[in-house]
Structures are given as structure tokens and as C-alpha cells.
Symmetry: C2
Subunit: 491 residues, 2 copies
């Protein structure tokens, strides 16, 4: 318990002066080793106002090479962040391999009184807060990021003394705000909130380190010592892949959904025209409403090659306000993207409130192509089902409508389309070696798709299989499904 | 003159219905050709409120593949943008090769009454506005971007009619704001402002196309027709490199500044310690002041390999609040970066107000390594002197302090340092093949550096040669120069 800790641990000046330089030297050396090991490190500073976070960060980075660390301060919430789930801004800024990112004020404080309102957390987000924070930290940790969480603890009296000292100096007076004094006056109730926050986010793999910070020398040494210890230990004992994941489940069959799909659904031309006009107009109206209600929409297209994703997307967005949507085609990750958690490149492109993002292929590549082509070890792609469900839940909690389409054609139809493309000079560029390779793995994909459905089909983020042998039928089905879902969400 | 134009050009429905589909088909085909040609296209929509920009953009993109165009709307100014020069947000979003970017409300309107205040333009920025806008457009055009600027013009009566119609429909009433009606009431004075804006940004290479927009069918056809015409013409006659640049100047000698530099400046250890402590503390104080005054600082390090840039930067930032600065090491551009104007990757990393960015190598690579190694054609790197001066001026107008250091050692000293690095296993990684190649081009670099000084040494963004044979002397000189400049800027 925070309240049991004596913040006032003193250390004498001469001991400090002797102890600090070797620690700093070690830190500088560790930074190099972190780079060489390709270890992403996230150091989180939390704590009371005026507990010395800024000074401590300054001392910490002083011996480091400034080209290879980042310091983020999130005290100002940008509109970009406000218009997305609360973890979004942090997701976008996770460290790359070999990089040290230091965060001054982290996601943990979003749940504190006053902050929740500033961040515009809705009820679902507040309720799921701790669950989502733990999931975020666990996901980064499983991906290999070392997270070090420090809480700087000072007493009420010491805090008041520091605010006063800052105020008395004209060059620092601007740093003390009304809400700082409010924190001091309500120290006891804030203490309770901090204790709850610490307790609920103190996990075995991501524990909190409490730093007694009434004495700046003591806290400085303890911070440097803690960080060097944790990094050293981690570099000596890198976690094995197996240990970081839940045990692989024994092989079991998932319901063969795909094989049961009737692909031959059809629609007459006249009916298609009529339905298309009606549904696109409906889409336009609902798009405006989603904008007015500040609700984002995420639509995922997956499916067999040549199933008609491109043309389908085009009809879906045709009457949407073009300023309100983005279509994101997903290809193989770049080296830059491979340097971070695989969800990073998708999260960055998610829509802000009131907007649509349509993904032409998506994060499901992890459990489809990466699984089938053995690009990713099994424990890692298996972990992705949970990661995906948690990420999608985070968006739905924020108010997003999230839909996932599997564009389904049968094997014969695909062959027909491939051959047609090969024969048409204007379409030859649409068919590549990779398409034929994917086709040769048809059965393996079917197994992967069925397991994906079984594990990621959720009421709040459902999979919809779209029978696509007839392209017109497929377009109407997607438009119908999307408009129904939007209409439903807006009720 | 806008006022001479009759906005009310009518077109009959049946003609429209016949004329539009072939135009749209052509647009779809042109989009593919633009992709294949790797042509960046920037389409700008400006005009009166309710002149149909949104609808027109919708019609325009309707036939296009939504995966390969972007629509940007800049009606909301984010804090990120507010805290930087007004062109920054647009710079960050320029189209890549083969991409079409459509902008709804562009940089042009920033000078309109009311907007200037919203964007927080200071006096220098307002004064330089048209100059900077023309420079921005010219730079993109010279780099190969096709800019198409459309102004949608409607009459006062038609605008009022449209606002009323929007207000009467409950589903669109939210779109009409107070400032919209204000624009209508002050139509004549706004007309004058638009006319001035159009006149001052109507250049030969980037002309405005006025679209008479009282009749939506007419404006839709004229927009599609104009865009297809301009893109077609451009694809048929790509500009030759030579035509797009100012003629290459006859070879002339620039003052041999480098060869005259005495590198052997020295400082005693005791004096170094004392000065370092004093200047770093001064740096800390001035850093806070720059933050309070919301003024950004940009510091560029260039110089010979092994001149000690890394260690120098470390001392410069040692006592700065680590939350207030970023050090950006610049390496070769990635393929992603090569897809855009070369300044793009630097502009994106510029500091926001109150912050520091320190570039370890910079945009000057264009006229140094790219020139010497012949990575870039001569007319292109020659053009860069102007581009750089204009870009730096843009930041200084915004309030930035901008300093450029050339870290200078002589050739013998470099050899000594190279050899020392080779001999030290801990430092071997710091010396590569590329360093030896650069060294072999020493004389060519000297010519390039002297010309760079002659052409980009400006009072508002000066070059400072730092004699660096003695690293300690060099650190003190940089700290002294930076703190003096900040102090001076804050007076």
C-alpha cells in the first residue's frame, strides 16, 4: 500500500556524488546494448505533481546518446487523440526495436478523477479501463517490449513545499496550476485513487516500482538503479518465445463454415440497379449521421484473391462524402513497420470519430497468410486471436461500428477469374506469382479461415461471409449489412 | 476579375446525363495512368461556402479506385498545425508519386479575414504569406507535382438560397454555421479578398481555374473536364528537367571559407569545466523561456565525419528538459521518403512551438553528399539552395530560432580519428566504408561547402563554422553561440 510507504528516505550528498557516476556510466553502456539486442524499452514515469518526474527523466537521459531515445509527454491531449480510443496515442508511439521511449505521464492516469472527463471517456471505456490497460501492456510485453513502470511518491507536506518554492521563483511560477494545488488539498482521496490504480495494474510481468521521492538524491539513485537492474536482468535472460504465450491448444477441428457456404447466390440486373441506388443513398444518409454523432466505422475486407474486393469497396463508398473515409490497402509490412508490434501499422490508420476506414486486407493477415506461409512462428500467430479481439473491443468500447467481410468464391470461380485476367492485357497487372502460390494453399487457408471465424467472430465485431461468385450480389449484401449495422448502432 | 464572371452558366439535364459518364470513364483511366507514370497530383478546391465543393469532390472521385486517392479537409486546425508555420500541415500531406490528393479548403484561404486569426498568423507570416505560398507551389511543381487549383464561384443570391435549403432540412441544418451567413452578408468585401488572393497566387505554372458554380450540373462537368484536360496534357508533355529550373549558373569560385579556418583552437580543462557548467545552466534557463514564449528552435549539425557531432549534441542538450527536445539523426532516405519532395521528411520532424529539434545531418545533404556523390542531377541540387532558404525563412517568420553548425576538422585530424576508431574494438562500429569514401572526396566537399555557405548563409539562419580539432573548444563554442542567439531572440 502506498500509504504504508515512508517517502522520506534520505541519502547524503557525498554518497550520492560517489554513487551516481558509475550508475550513469552503466546506463550509457546499457543503452548501446539495448540497441544491439534490438530490445524495445518503454519507461513509464507516474506519480504526484512536483514529485520530480521531469528532473528524474533529465538525470536518467543525461548519460545517454540523445539520438536514440525519445521522451514523450502526454499532458496535453491533442484532438487527434481525443477523437479515438484512449490508448490510441500511446499505441502510435510505442518504441521500435532497440529504442528507449520514456513517457512522462502515462495511460495509467487517465482513470484519475478529472482526467477521465478531459479524455472524454464514455461509460464502456471507463468500465473496461483496467482490463484494456492490462491487455495493452501484456501485448507489448509478449511482443518483446520491456516495460518499466515507476511511481514517484511524495508526502503531502513535501508536495506543498515544492509548489510553494516553484511559485516563489518567477521563472518557474508558471508551472504550478490550479489543479496542482487541488491535488495537494485532496491528497488523501488522490492517494486512494493512486493506490487503486497501482493495485489494478500491478501484474507479475509488468510490476510497479515505487520510488520514495521526498529526497531528490534518493529518488534519483533508486530510479537509475532500478532501471539498470531491470534492463540488465532482461538482457541476461531474454524470455523464451514459449514462455511468453499461452500454451498451444491441441489440434482440434473448427466448424467447417467455409465449405458449407453456397457461393452461387444471384441477383437480377434490374433488381441490382434498384437496390444499389437505394442502398448507396442510405449509406450517404447514415454516413452523415455517424459524423454528426461522432462515431467511427471500421470495415475489414478479407477473402480469396480475385473475389472482387476492389470493386465491392468502390460501390460501398460511392456515395459517402469523400472527406469522411479512407481506404487503406494492406501489403507486406515494410522494415520500418516490422520494427514494432504488428498491430502498430493498423492502429495508426484507424479512423477518427465520425469517419470511416476501410481496410483492403488487414490485421487478420497474421492468422491467414502469416500462418499459412509460415512467416510467423505458431505461438506468435496463435497469440494474435486474443490480441485482435482485444484491439477490436477497444474500438467498439469507444463507440466504433466494426464489421468484417470474408469475400468468398469457390475454387473453380477463382481459376476462371485468374485465367480471364491473364488473357486481358489491361488486367494482367492484377495477377501475380503470389496469387498462384496462395491458390495452391487453398486447403490450408480454409483451415485458417475456419479457425479465425471460430475465434474472432464476436457480436460486437462480427464476421460476415459474402457469397461473391456473383459480384453484384456481393455488393448488395455488403451494402445491406453495413447500412443495417449503422442504422442499428444509431438507434 | 471574379466580379466580371457570370456564375450562372446553365446546362440541361439530358446533356449532362450524356456528357458525364464518358468523362468519368476517362478520369478512371487517367488515375491508372497517373499511377503508372508516378505522377503526384494535388487537386485544390477553393471557393465560397456552399459552392458545392463537397459534392463536386464526391462526383470527381466516384469513378476512381478509392485505394489510390486521398481527400483532405483542413477546416479544423489541429493543435499540431497551430504550433507550427501555416504551411506545415500541408507539407506533411503532399501526395506521393502516383497518388492523387484532393484538398477541400487549402492554404490559400488562410489569408482570408477571420482565418488569419484562427491560424494564429503573426505579422511576419502575414506579410510573407503570398511569397511563401508561391514558393511552396513552385517547389512542388519543380519537383514534378501537378497542382490543379479550382475556385468554385457562386453568386450572393445563390449562396443565400443554398444556406436556406440546407437549414430547412433537419438532416443538413448542422452544416450551416454563423460564419457561413456572415460570408453571405459580407459577400462584396469577401469577393474583394478572394479576388486579391486569386490574383496573387495565379502564376503561369500554377494558374487558377474558375468554375462557375450556380448550376451544379455545369460546375460538375467543367470540373471533370478541366481536371481530365490538365492531367492528359501533363501526361503527354512531361516537363523536361531543364525547363523546370533556373538556368545553371556559370562556374564561379565561391570564397574559400573552409580553407581559411584555423582548426587548432584550444581550451584548457579547468576553463572548459567552468564554462560548460555555466553555459549548460544558461541553456536550461533559456530553454524554459523559449517554452514559455512558445518559440521553436531548430539546430542543424553538418560537418566532416568524425568531427565530433554526437558528443557535441550530447553536451548541448545535457541540461535541457528532455521533454522539450528531439535529436533527429538523418541517414539515407527510405523508398517511402524518396516518393516525395526531398524536404518532406525534414519538415515532418520540425519542432512545435516551445520545443527544440536538433538535426544530426540535415536537408543540406542535398547540396553536399548528393552533389558530391552525383546522386542527384545538377539542376535539381542547384534548385535546392532556394528551396532551403525559403523553407528556413518560413520557420523564422513563424518565430523559430534557426542555427547551422559546420563542425570543422582538418584532414590530418580526421585520419588520426579514423585510425583511433579502427584500433578500438568498442568504436569500430563507428567507422564504415562510407567514411573512407567520403574522405577520398575531401576536395569536392570543400567546394560544395563553400558554395553552400555562400548561398545559404542568411542573417536569420546563419552558418557557424566550429573549429573542432579540440572537441572541448567546439562544445563551448556551440553552447555559447546557441545561448547567445536564444538570449538575443528573447529580448
Amino acid at each position: 500500500m502506498l500509504s504504508d510507504i515512508d517517502c522520506n528516505q534520505q541519502i547524503e550528498r557525498h554518497i550520492f556524488k560517489e554513487a551516481l557516476p558509475p550508475l550513469q556510466k552503466k546506463l550509457a553502456a546499457l543503452q548501446q546494448q539495448v540497441r544491439e539486442a534490438g530490445l524495445p524499452v518503454l519507461i513509464v514515469f507516474e506519480g504526484w505533481g512536483a514529485s520530480g518526474k521531469g528532473t528524474s527523466i533529465g538525470r536518467l537521459v543525461n548519460p545517454m546518446d540523445p539520438r536514440y531515445f525519445d521522451v514523450l509527454t502526454m499532458s496535453k491531449i491533442t484532438e487527434e487523440m481525443l477523437k479515438r480510443p484512449f490508448l490510441w496515442g500511446y499505441w502510435c508511439r510505442i518504441p521500435a526495436k532497440g529504442q528507449i521511449t520514456i513517457i512522462d505521464k502515462s495511460w495509467h492516469r487517465i482513470i484519475m478523477p478529472g482526467e477521465k472527463e478531459r479524455w472524454g471517456l464514455n461509460e464502456s471505456e471507463s468500465k473496461a479501463f483496467y482490463h484494456e490497460v492490462r491487455a495493452f501492456e501484456r501485448q507489448l510485453t509478449q511482443d518483446g517490449t520491456l516495460i518499466i513502470k515507476l511511481f514517484l511518491h511524495i508526502s503531502q507536506a513535501e508536495q506543498a513545499r515544492r509548489f510553494k518554492a516553484l511559485e516563489e521563483d518567477p521563472s518557474t511560477a508558471w508551472r504550478v496550476k490550479t489543479h496542482d494545488w487541488a491535488q495537494n488539498e485532496n491528497y488523501q482521496s488522490n492517494l486512494k485513487h493512486f493506490e487503486e490504480m497501482l493495485k489494478k495494474t500491478n501484474t507479475e510481468s509488468n510490476p510497479w516500482y515505487i520510488i520514495e521521492a521526498d529526497d531528490k538524491r534518493f529518488s534519483c539513485l533508486k530510479i537509475c538503479q532500478t532501471i539498470t537492474d531491470v534492463i540488465e536482468k532482461r538482457l541476461e535472460n531474454p524470455p523464451s518465445l514459449a514462455a511468453s504465450v499461452t500454451p498451444v491448444q491441441s489440434e482440434r477441428k473448427f466448424p467447417g463454415i467455409l465449405s458449407g457456404v453456397k457461393t452461387e447466390k444471384h441477383i437480377e440486373n434490374a433488381e441490382y440497379r434498384e437496390e444499389l441506388d437505394f442502398l448507396q443513398a442510405r449509406m450517404n444518409r447514415l454516413g452523415h449521421k455517424m459524423y454528426v454523432k461522432s462515431r467511427p466505422t471500421v470495415i475489414v475486407y478479407e477473402g480469396w484473391d480475385a473475389a472482387g474486393k476492389g470493386g465491392n469497396i468502390k460501390r460501398l463508398v460511392a456515395e459517402l462524402d469523400p472527406r469522411s473515409y479512407a481506404v487503406v490497402p494492406i501489403g507486406p509490412p515494410t522494415p520500418h513497420e516490422l520494427g514494432r508490434h504488428y498491430l502498430w501499422r493498423f492502429v495508426r490508420r484507424m479512423p477518427k470519430d465520425g469517419h470511416f476506414t476501410i481496410f483492403d486486407r488487414s490485421w487478420y493477415g497474421r492468422v491467414l497468410i502469416e500462418r499459412v506461409e509460415e512467416l510467423t512462428p505458431e505461438p506468435v500467430w496463435r497469440r494474435a486471436y486474443d490480441e485482435i479481439n482485444e484491439m477490436e473491443q477497444h474500438w467498439v468500447n469507444h463507440g466504433a461500428v466494426l464489421l468484417k467481410f470474408w469475400m468468398h468464391i469457390d475454387k473453380e470461380e477463382q481459376l476462371k477469374r485468374f485465367n480471364a485476367r491473364m488473357a486481358d492485357p489491361a488486367k494482367q497487372h492484377k495477377i501475380t506469382e503470389a496469387d498462384w502460390i496462395n491458390r495452391s494453399h487453398w486447403d490450408a487457408y480454409e483451415v485458417a479461415v475456419d479457425e479465425m471465424f471460430a475465434k474472432t467472430n464476436k457480436p460486437h465485431a462480427p464476421w460476415v461471409v459474402v457469397e461473391s461468385n456473383n459480384k453484384k450480389y456481393a455488393r448488395i449484401k455488403v451494402l445491406q449489412t453495413v447500412t443495417d449495422s449503422l442504422d442499428n448502432a444509431l438507434r
